[in-house]
């Protein structure tokens, strides 16, 4: 249960290798969380997480039939889920997707379709509990889709819309959705790419996410200035938008 000061006890991280996801978990453990379930694909040696009890559950984003079992297993291990973080995803390159449409469709299935399945399972569990927050890692890439990464961006746009709708559907149930919209994140996923303006580190994304969780917010931009920035960028005429360098 989330306590009076906003600290939680149990966390389920889907995409247990995610840098951002693990940073969020570390911060939550520092603030009092004591039991963590990492849902990951394949063999995995779990990291030490501040002395918390850590469980590993097999999870394959594309095996949507198996998602229900992941939630059942997590609940069996730690009881009520206070925070569910949906942090799995693949970036890929637009050039690669252009050359291999099947790979593009599969990436969209991971970045969007699998999140829909996970989100709906999480919603059912949290609604029954009457409490808990689903953290969805969206991206500015979905705030307005760019030609430089429109496959990834369109999946994030879909995910963002899904998460907004889910949050509204859960309103009044005690369960909540927190949408996190980072800009360019300097980390393993973006290795070799040149950072964009207003980029951040996984740690910065995690700090903003945990702050938003404690305050009970429904969305957070990282850094915050990206919110108003994209408010304006969304209004930019398309001829200008498509000429932007990246």
């Amino acid at each position: 249960m989330k306590n009076a000061l906003g600290a939680v006890d149990t966390v389920l991280l889907l995409g247990g290798r995610s840098e951002i996801g693990l940073e969020i978990v570390r911060l939550l453990v520092g603030l009092g969380a004591s039991r963590v379930v990492l849902a990951v694909r394949g063999g995995f040696d779990p990291p030490e997480l501040g002395g918390a009890e850590v469980h590993v559950v097999p999870f394959d984003a594309l095996d949507v039939q198996g998602h229900g079992a992941v939630f059942a297993k997590a609940a069996e291990l730690v009881g009520d889920l206070d925070v569910v973080i949906s942090a799995f995803g693949v970036l890929g390159s637009q050039a690669g997707y252009d050359a291999d449409p099947a790979a593009a469709a599969e990436a969209v299935a991971v970045n969007y379709g699998a999140h829909v399945s996970v989100g709906l399972h999480a919603a059912r569990v949290l609604r029954e509990q009457g409490h808990g927050t689903l953290v969805v890692l969206s991206s500015v890439a979905g705030a307005r889709v760019r030609k430089a990464n429109f496959v990834y961006g369109s999946a994030k746009a879909g995910l963002d819309g899904f998460a907004q709708g889910l949050g509204d559907a859960l309103h009044g149930s005690g369960a909540k959705v927190l949408i996190v919209r980072p800009g360019f994140v300097i980390g393993r996923m973006t290795k070799g790419l040149t950072p964009a303006p207003m980029s951040s580190t996984p740690r910065q994304v995690a700090v903003a996410t945990v702050g938003a969780l404690r305050e009970g917010r429904s969305s957070v931009w990282v850094p915050r200035a990206l919110g108003p920035a994209f408010g304006l960028l969304r209004l930019l005429p398309r001829p200008l938008w498509r000429r932007l360098p990246r």
């Binding site: 249960m1 306590n3 009076a4 000061l5 509990q129 009457g130 409490h131 149930s173």
Partner: protein
């Protein structure tokens, strides 16, 4: 009806189905048909934290169970679980009787008083509420009614059991005779914590009721300066008064108050004023309500903390662990923790409840607005110091303790669990507090 509920501290609301039984039969039916997320009883909602909340489950508002009888020859009251101490006092004081224990508010139910095993200013003499209970009628997990007496294993599991052994449908307890409705109160100011502790230790036994208000924001040499109030019921020989009792709320807190109203500046000013207006030493005569329940004069005073609410932190450390108490008061003072009402009290023997809070020692209670920087870490550090000293935190006030502290603070926890598991094998009686602390 699904309703969002909080405790008195107005933190961490969760939704539950709320039902209000009007009879014990109806209560049994509701318990027997409780959903998978379980059920817990709720009274007047004066527990500060999440003790009477049950996210996604059923909560039984027991205030509809409000009948009681009084036997003047034995001084015994038999009351339904939802009867408030306010109602009992209003009827009994004019007849020359008083409740055996009154917490800082009289707006608590008999069921809640037993489930939290509440204490008052007379704990050093009279122990807690549970010590005065002769029998409890409990609706258990199978929907049947059991009558418990002090020898029954379920009795000490229910006294202080936070409602997790069943629903208290009725209880019989002893009252105390009073000759007037007045209190003779000795007020004394102390200069620092050492003088406060020494004065209380030396003089407590002379009075039935004692408590100290501490100015937690005073630092340095004045750290722990206090105003002691110690009282006794006035006898008819001292004052010709026929007992009467009809207090109401004088003020009503606004429905909405901005957060941050009670901040470092306003609380410091209040503390300074409160300390200075207190005489160095004086004896006054007061009514029961201003002596026992000063906060009840402001209806809904908890709203003054704004929408973020507040937490109350109350702990006890055994006699001999005064250094822990001094250390925590020092940390609070150094941290500049804003606590509007900080109260120190000496406890006497406990009541035997397995999860009861009071034990012989010093108890300190603070009210802290939520949102102060570093508060979570500060209080977790206190938890460890309190547990290491053999003390504990009060569950009826708690909204933030971690489950891993419970076993050290409550050494009878495993015994309590065994008795509870036998009476409620499926864990039907559940609350947010029970989930948070993995009881």
């Amino acid at each position: 009806m699904t309703t969002f509920l909080t405790g008195w501290g107005r933190t961490a609301p969760t939704p539950a189905e709320l039902a209000r039984p009007r009879s014990v039969a109806e209560l049994c039916e509701l318990v027997a048909a409780a959903p998978g997320r379980g059920v817990v009883a709720r009274g007047l909602g004066r527990s500060y934290g999440d003790a009477a909340q049950n996210a996604g489950g059923l909560v039984l508002d027991c205030t509809g169970l409000d009948t009681w009888t009084f036997d003047e020859s034995s001084g015994l009251v038999t009351a339904s679980g939802g009867v408030s101490l306010h109602d009992l006092m209003t009827a009994l004081v004019p007849r020359g009787w008083f409740v055996p224990v009154s917490p800082g508010t009289r707006h608590v139910t008999v069921g809640g008083a037993i489930a939290a095993d509440v204490h008052g200013k007379n704990h050093h003499r009279d122990s807690s509420f549970g010590a005065h209970v002769r029998s409890i009628t409990l609706v258990t997990a199978d929907g049947t009614v059991r009558t418990l007496r002090p020898g029954d294993p379920l009795f000490p599991a229910t006294v202080g059991g936070m409602g997790l052994t069943g629903v208290i449908a009725e209880a019989t307890f002893g009252c105390v005779p009073v000759e007037t409705s007045l209190m003779r109160v000795d007020v004394q100011r102390t200069a620092d914590l050492d003088e406060t502790l020494a004065t209380m230790a030396a003089t407590d036994d002379r009075y039935r009721y004692t408590v100290a208000w501490i100015d937690l924001l005073a630092r340095g040499r004045r750290m722990g300066r206090s105003v002691l109030t110690r009282g006794d019921h006035v006898t008819r020989a001292e004052e010709k008064e026929s007992p009467a009792f009809a207090p109401g709320a004088l003020l009503r807190a606004p429905a909405w108050a901005p957060g941050g109203l009670l901040n470092g500046v306003s609380v410091r000013a209040f503390n300074e004023l409160w300390y200075r207006k207190a005489p160095r030493r004086k004896t006054v005569v007061q009514g029961i309500a201003p002596f026992f329940h000063p906060l009840d004069f402001v209806d809904g005073w908890n709203r003054m903390y704004g929408s973020r609410g507040f937490v109350q932190y109350q702990f006890v450390v055994p006699f001999g662990a005064e250094d822990t108490l001094r250390g925590i008061v020092g940390s609070l003072s150094a941290h500049g923790t804003v606590s509007f009402l900080t109260v120190l009290k000496r406890f006497g023997p406990g009541s035997g409840g397995l999860l009861s809070f009071p034990m012989p020692g010093w108890t300190l209670a603070l009210d802290i607005p939520v949102g102060q920087r570093g508060l979570g870490g500060l209080l977790r550090g206190f938890d460890r110091r309190v547990a290491a000293a053999g003390g504990r935190v009060y569950l009826a006030k708690d909204a933030r303790l971690r489950a891993d502290m419970m076993a050290a603070m409550y050494p009878e926890l495993e015994r309590w669990r065994r008795i509870r598991d036998e009476a409620d094998p499926a864990g039907l009686f559940r609350s947010d507090l029970a989930r948070r602390l993995r009881l």
